[in-house]
């Protein structure tokens, strides 16, 4: 477990170990993990502490898009593939991202710096085509804009 167990306990205590608070609990526990996911070990720990089944935890994690059961790169790039972005040229954006990041959609780069995934509409259709990087929205994307965003993110890595 990469997260400090004390921090996890704090979250559980804050929500009084109530299973009705499972979603905020899991969201906050996930935030503790640098790789933006809930590991199996962590899921087990939370289940035991909350006295609920591990299945229940996994049912919730796998149901909701914002909860992950697999690790993500340092920069989690989510490209919208819903209708509005589809007709505002998502294809060019996708091709540019794939070539700039050197990974296919659904993959994480070997150095664990980037994960590229599709995501359903996140309500930024006024600036479509759009993507989210670690939940920050980047809109009105063009080939050159993506190149500059990616190079900035890479620059940050080597700083």
């Amino acid at each position: 477990m990469t997260a400090d167990i004390q921090d996890v306990n704090k979250i559980l205590k804050k929500y009084e170990y109530k299973d009705t608070s499972l979603i905020p609990i899991l969201q906050e526990v996930q935030k503790l993990n640098e790789e933006k996911y809930i590991s199996e070990e962590m899921a087990k720990y939370v289940a035991t502490e909350m006295k609920i089944s591990k299945t229940r935890i996994y049912e919730v994690i796998t149901f909701f898009s914002a909860l992950n059961d697999k690790p993500k790169g340092k920069y989690f790039v989510q490209l919208c593939n819903s209708t509005v972005c589809e007709i505002t040229d998502k294809e060019t954006i996708e091709n540019t991202l794939v070539s700039e990041l050197g990974i296919q959609v659904g993959e994480t780069s070997q150095d664990k710096m980037f994960t590229l995934e599709y995501t359903p509409c996140f309500g930024a259709c006024d600036v479509s085509p759009a993507m989210r990087v670690n939940k920050v929205v980047y809109g009105n994307l063009t080939e050159s804009k993506i190149k500059s965003i990616v190079s900035k993110l890479r620059g940050d890595i080597y700083e």
Binding site: F63, F64, T83, V84, I87, T88, P120, A124
Partner: protein
């Protein structure tokens, strides 16, 4: 002529969340004051006069819903503001929460008072996480100023609001699925009846309204229903927030009076089509809405005009696709979305979407047969008729309207029919 209005959006760009005093100076919380002063019958009368219909998509008359709701007696009751704006092409609630958060809180407080709830929740989608702290701050300041919390405005009415974050599931826009997720479960819709107004959050009566609906409630109670009713048409009263997007020059959220034509909306407000191309189709009300071919763009944007032609207002989304766009690729995107978002509870929706996705993929690859096209239509009808909730029932709407209006294009992707 640009006929956008500033009624619901009167406070946009006039204050920052820290500046609750400015909201109050603008006449903020006057709706709540009037409501508490004049009582529940007055509120219901005003809502009925305003003609307000739910703005989340279902368009159920708000006055009627609230009048029924206050008659459900229980020791504890809850009210919700549904800000799980997950319908693709829709982002007007985002703007309301970002640019006039106090009005939404005010509307929710009025809802709580009318329904008899002391506790309210704003369920905000995870994708709008950047709004969560803003809304929490607004709640805190409203409490400090006596507009929320104990003994509001000295009337003895207690009411608190909490923010609940969604976790990324379109189906949670459905009231009972939303409540399931608030109770720590996967967001699958419940069997109805009972409706959530009778058995909702924690088994208690729960009244849920869309963000825009609540903002209008606060507006109507401030300005008076008869003044609000000066906007719009006889049957579609008032103004509407629209999310205009797609291949238009000026996409965005706009407030318009009901009764403008779609052509006016697209050209006068949206600035026309990017690259001055022609329109091919619109999709109204989001991804669950029908495709509307361009010959209908002189239709007036009202409930009655649209419904009469088989379309609808829905969430208020207006997606515009230009003449170069492929209907099949568009449908593939619709189908991928629903496949991803099906909760898996009922077979028609879960399996129907799986098959639809496969068949549409064949069509876009050019390997589909006439039998495939027939199957698509059959599956669409079964999903519409037999799905458990609104998600599955509307998932094939775009497909069925595409069959109605764009069959030559659909058929052209099928080898055997190319010769015809």
């Amino acid at each position: 002529m640009n006929r956008t209005q500033r009624v619901i959006t009167e406070n946009f760009n006039t204050y920052k969340v820290e500046e609750i005093d400015k909201y109050i100076q603008n006449g903020g919380f006057q709706g709540l004051k009037n409501a508490l002063e004049k009582g529940k019958d007055f509120i219901i009368d005003e809502l009925n006069t305003s003609g307000l219909r739910g703005r989340g998509g279902a368009a159920y008359p708000t006055g009627k819903k609230w009048n029924g709701g206050r008659k459900n007696h229980a020791d504890v009751k809850y009210v919700l503001c549904n800000a799980d704006e997950g319908e693709p092409a829709t982002f007007k609630d985002r703007e309301l929460l970002a640019r006039d958060p106090y009005k939404v809180l005010e509307g929710l407080a009025i809802s709580g008072y009318t329904f008899g709830a002391k506790e309210g929740f704003i369920y905000i989608r995870e994708e709008y996480e950047f709004l969560h702290s803003k809304i929490r701050k607004a709640i805190k300041l409203a409490e400090e100023n006596g507009y929320l919390g104990k003994n509001i405005l000295g009337t003895g009415f207690d009411f608190t609001i909490k923010v609940f974050s969604g976790a990324g599931a379109y189906v949670c826009g459905e009231g009972s699925a939303l409540i399931e997720s608030m109770e720590g479960k996967a967001g699958r819709p419940r069997m109805k009846p009972p409706r959530i107004g009778v058995v909702g959050y924690m088994g208690k009566p729960t009244q849920s309204n869309n963000v825009e609906t609540l903002a209008i409630v606060a507006t109507v109670l401030k300005m008076g229903a008869s003044n609000y009713a000066k906007y719009g048409t006889e049957k579609s009263i008032g103004t509407k927030m629209i999310s205009l997007c797609g291949n238009v020059k000026k996409p965005g959220t706009y407030e318009i009076p009901f009764g403008m034509s779609l052509r006016e909306i697209i050209y006068d407000i949206g600035g026309g089509i990017v690259g001055d191309k022609d329109i091919k189709f619109l999709q109204l009300g989001g991804v669950s809405g029908p495709l509307m071919p361009k010959q209908y763009i002189d239709t007036r944007y009202t409930y009655e005009d649209l419904e009469g032609k088989g379309f609808g207002i829905g969430s208020g989304a207006i997606l515009v696709a230009d003449e170069t766009k492929s209907v099949i690729k568009f449908l593939e995107s619709v189908s991928y979305f629903f496949f991803h978002e099906s909760c898996g509870k009922c077979t028609p929706c879960r399996e129907g979407k799986r098959q639809m996705k496969k068949l549409l993929n064949k069509m876009s690859q050019g390997t589909a047969t006439t039998k495939d096209l027939k199957n698509i239509e059959k599956i669409s009808r079964i999903m519409t008729d037999a799905s458990f909730c609104g998600l599955g029932q509307t998932a094939a709407t775009a497909m069925l309207t595409a069959i109605k209006y764009f069959s030559p294009e659909l058929c052209s992707s099928i080898d055997e029919m190319k010769a015809l």
